[in-house]
């Protein structure tokens, strides 16, 4: 069990300078003797190697002692707030977006505003505004999605379909370009005796992604942004929400999803797919290294296809109590995804300027290339020379570029309220088991949403 590694990267540069060598141009500040401790969730395998490599590289160049500690997200989120209270906080940490942690931390005065550094280093230009917004809060941490930058993400995330090319070929199925084609493809695969979509939902969160991508073919950006950033009085009790729930339920009834999915975890599902079971797996870009290792050249990737014009994917459900009229965005899809958990500077950092310099090094071209080479999607447009056609990595990278250019990256619905994760995972499990209907599903989510900020 290597869940929590503690490494110390001592800057070789400091020794070099002591010997009188002036080999590299150091940064413009006197950083010698500074110790920089940073905590994040890059705690295993590929990601751990990459972050240690980047930290070592910065330590050597800046002559700084860099200490890295990788946690699981749960551990980090519960330890970080308390470490600040007991003066044992790191200088930099990944602070989960929105109300998950960033909002409460800002309101408690625990984070350093990155506004001055953003203009100094050009961080505000790193990503398009719709993605930058996820790392932004106003000055006192009360309004999410606008104001100033409080964190910088080095990774990007997009959720789509990994596919097993062999299963597709055996059944004469092509990569679908419309939502209707996707459903036809799943039916063909099912008729061919192949599980169309490998899926495990006993831990609940993959259903949020699958549901989110179905919903993403039916909603507008104004609606989804408004819902997550709480602007414009958006409601979960909406036609699109009900229609997406109906569609999701229909997929279960038609047998498109892994049999027994309610009793297996998302990890089980990923392991099955990576071992060659089934035809498709809906997962995030973070799964790429594992899929690549499991399926190699027979793996491919595509994004949820759009409904195309007249809303063919939308069933003729007649929901009641739809609160907000929403333009059906059928030609494009808002894909579940966003930015990786951003790095923030913790109040009380030994030298915030060095910390900012380090964060900047993590999004440098060199860092982006290091990440991409390891199969980790960096929070940037992927350069053309990193995209190899007909590989799962190349397909995912170009899909990301396409979504980035088209402003087509949606949201994680559980960001909408502090209790939404528990509510939506439970309600989706109920929906898929037929324990609730689409209307009641939407109403329960709205109830949570409305309650969460009245107190």
């Amino acid at each position: 069990m290597d869940r929590r590694r503690f490494i110390t990267v001592t800057g070789g540069g400091a020794a070099g300078l002591a010997l009188g060598g002036s080999l590299r141009a150091g940064p413009a500040f006197a950083a010698q003797g500074t110790t920089l401790e940073f905590w994040d969730t890059l705690n295993a395998e590929t990601r751990l190697q990459v972050i240690e490599q980047l930290a070592t590289s910065f330590g050597e160049q800046a002559g700084v002692t860099v200490q890295h500690r990788g946690w699981t997200l749960d551990e980090l989120s519960s330890t970080l707030p308390r470490s600040v209270d007991s003066n044992q906080a790191p200088d930099i940490a990944q602070v989960n977006n929105g109300e998950a942690l960033a909002g409460p931390m800002i309101r408690a005065g625990r984070l350093v505003s990155l506004a001055p550094y953003a203009s100094q280093y050009g961080w505000d230009q790193q990503l398009p505004p719709a993605l930058q917004a996820r790392n932004m809060f106003n000055e006192d941490g009360t309004v999410f999605g606008e104001g100033q930058l409080w964190g910088v993400s080095i990774e990007a995330e997009i959720v789509g379909f990994y596919r097993n090319k062999s299963r597709f070929e055996e059944n004469g199925v092509e990569v679908p370009t419309t939502f209707a084609e996707l459903e036809t493809a799943m039916q063909t695969l099912l008729d061919g005796g192949v599980t169309p979509l490998v899926f495990g939902n006993s831990d609940g969160w993959t259903a949020i992604h699958l549901f989110g991508n179905i919903l993403g073919t039916m909603v507008s950006r104004e609606y989804l942004d408004g819902l997550v950033y709480r602007s414009g009085d958006m409601s979960f009790e909406d036609d699109a929400m009900v229609n997406a729930a109906t569609k999701f339920r229909e997929w279960v009834d038609r047998g498109f999803l892994q049999e027994g999915f309610s009793g297996i975890t998302s990890d089980d599902a990923a392991a099955l797919f990576q071992a060659g079971e089934g035809a498709m797996l809906m997962q995030g870009s973070w799964q790429l290294p594992a899929v690549l290792e499991g399926l190699g050249e027979s793996a491919g990737f595509f994004l949820t296809p759009p409904a195309e014009g007249g809303g063919t994917a939308t069933p003729a459900a007649t929901p009641s109590g739809a609160a907000t009229p929403v333009a059906a965005a059928t030609a494009s899809v808002l894909h579940v995804g966003g930015v990786g958990i951003p790095y923030s500077i913790i109040t009380g950092a030994q030298d915030p300027d060095v910390a900012a310099e380090f964060i900047n090094s993590l999004i440098s071209d060199e860092a982006v290339n290091t990440l991409l080479d390891a199969g980790v999607l960096a929070a940037a447009e992927v350069p053309a020379d990193k995209i190899q056609a007909a590989t799962v990595t190349g397909e995912l990278y170009s899909a990301w570029n396409e979504a980035l250019a088209g402003d087509a990256i949606g949201h994680y619905l559980d960001w909408a309220s502090p209790t939404m994760y528990d509510t939506i995972t439970a309600e989706l499990q109920r929906l898929l088991a037929g324990e609730t209907d689409p209307q009641a599903f939407a109403a329960t989510l709205q109830q949570d949403y409305a309650q969460s900020f009245t107190a």
Binding site: G204, F261, D422
Partner: protein, 304 residues
């Protein structure tokens, strides 16, 4: 409170020469640890339960009196979780007691060869960490590649998604809990039986009692204290059930297996309502205390 039956040792009264602070000196290390790791956290939890706090900085906490407790008693999710705890009581309390009593009687009355190995084997689940038990059972009951369903399929029986099914998940978790606890019951009962005077059995046999009558007339009455211990310990485990459920269903599907301890953790640390979570913890602790005292009163004291 029932005190465990300890052999009565003659306590030598100290003369005037013994200083009165000396016993305290021996107690000090234990008292320190107890204060630091039990008393302080408990008082802290009670204090937090009267505040609205997100767990980030204590300076941002606001005193709200009994608001959190009012929220709890009107919170349908809290009552839903509490109901699930109650449903688990037969599985966590009664079933393991029966499952432990049967092998204990067999070993004691008939004398099984290799009883020590038998005893150790049955006790094993009880000393396994709950999370490990959960992981093992999650694998055993996995509907896609688990051995239980593989056997059922071969026998032509239905192969449900045990831990993901809305009807079966809670009983399945309950059975796992029973499996984890019955070894403890077995060992306690066996020890209790070995303490019963053999001449009682002899007298019963002379009166023409069959093995079943021996069991009801001699063994069961002789086990009153052990039954009290087993039931109260099991009850406490049923009410504070957490690790096995976290590792198997995490409260799902839906909220079918959500118990109070899970709801407390998710509220306090997931939704960052630490004050509210603390009030749930206090309610759970008080309920557990009251119910286990009740059990001890019912089964323990009478012939004391």
């Amino acid at each position: 409170m029932a005190t465990p039956e300890l052999p009565r040792v003659a306590v030598r009264k100290r003369g005037l020469s013994g200083s009165s602070w000396e016993p305290w000196l021996y107690l000090l290390p234990g008292l320190l640890i107890f204060t630091l790791f039990v008393v302080v956290p408990v008082l802290g939890t009670v204090a937090i339960s009267f505040a609205n706090w997100n767990g980030i900085a204590w300076s941002t906490a606001a005193f709200t009196g009994v608001d959190n407790y009012i929220t709890a008693v009107t919170d349908s999710l809290f009552w839903g979780a509490f109901w699930n705890n109650l449903v688990l009581i037969p599985y966590f309390v009664i079933l393991p007691a029966i499952l432990g009593l049967i092998p204990a009687t067999v070993v004691h009355q008939m004398g099984v060869r290799g009883a020590a190995a038998f005893r150790a084997g049955l006790f094993l689940p009880y000393i396994m960490p709950g999370v490990l038990i959960g992981v093992v059972w999650r694998w055993l009951l996995n509907p896609v590649f688990g051995p239980v369903n593989a056997v059922l399929e071969r026998l032509g029986l239905p192969t449900p998604s045990w831990l993901g099914d809305f009807t079966l998940a809670l009983p399945a978790v309950g059975m796992i809990g029973a499996w984890a606890a019955y070894g403890f019951c077995f060992v306690i009962f066996l020890a209790g039986m070995q303490k019963i005077q053999p001449d009682l059995y002899e007298a019963a046999r002379l009166d023409g009692a069959n093995p079943f009558q021996e069991f009801t007339a001699v063994t069961l009455p002789g086990l009153r204290r052990e039954i009290a211990v087993v039931l109260s310990v099991n009850l406490i485990n049923a009410l504070r059930a957490f690790d096995v459920i976290r590792a198997t269903t995490d409260g799902g599907p839906g909220r079918e297996t959500e118990v109070v301890a899970l709801y407390m953790i998710d509220t306090a640390f997931g939704a960052k309502q630490v004050g509210y979570g603390a009030s749930i913890a206090v309610l759970l602790a008080v309920t557990t205390l009251v119910l286990s005292l009740l059990v001890l009163r019912l089964f323990g004291e009478r012939d004391g």
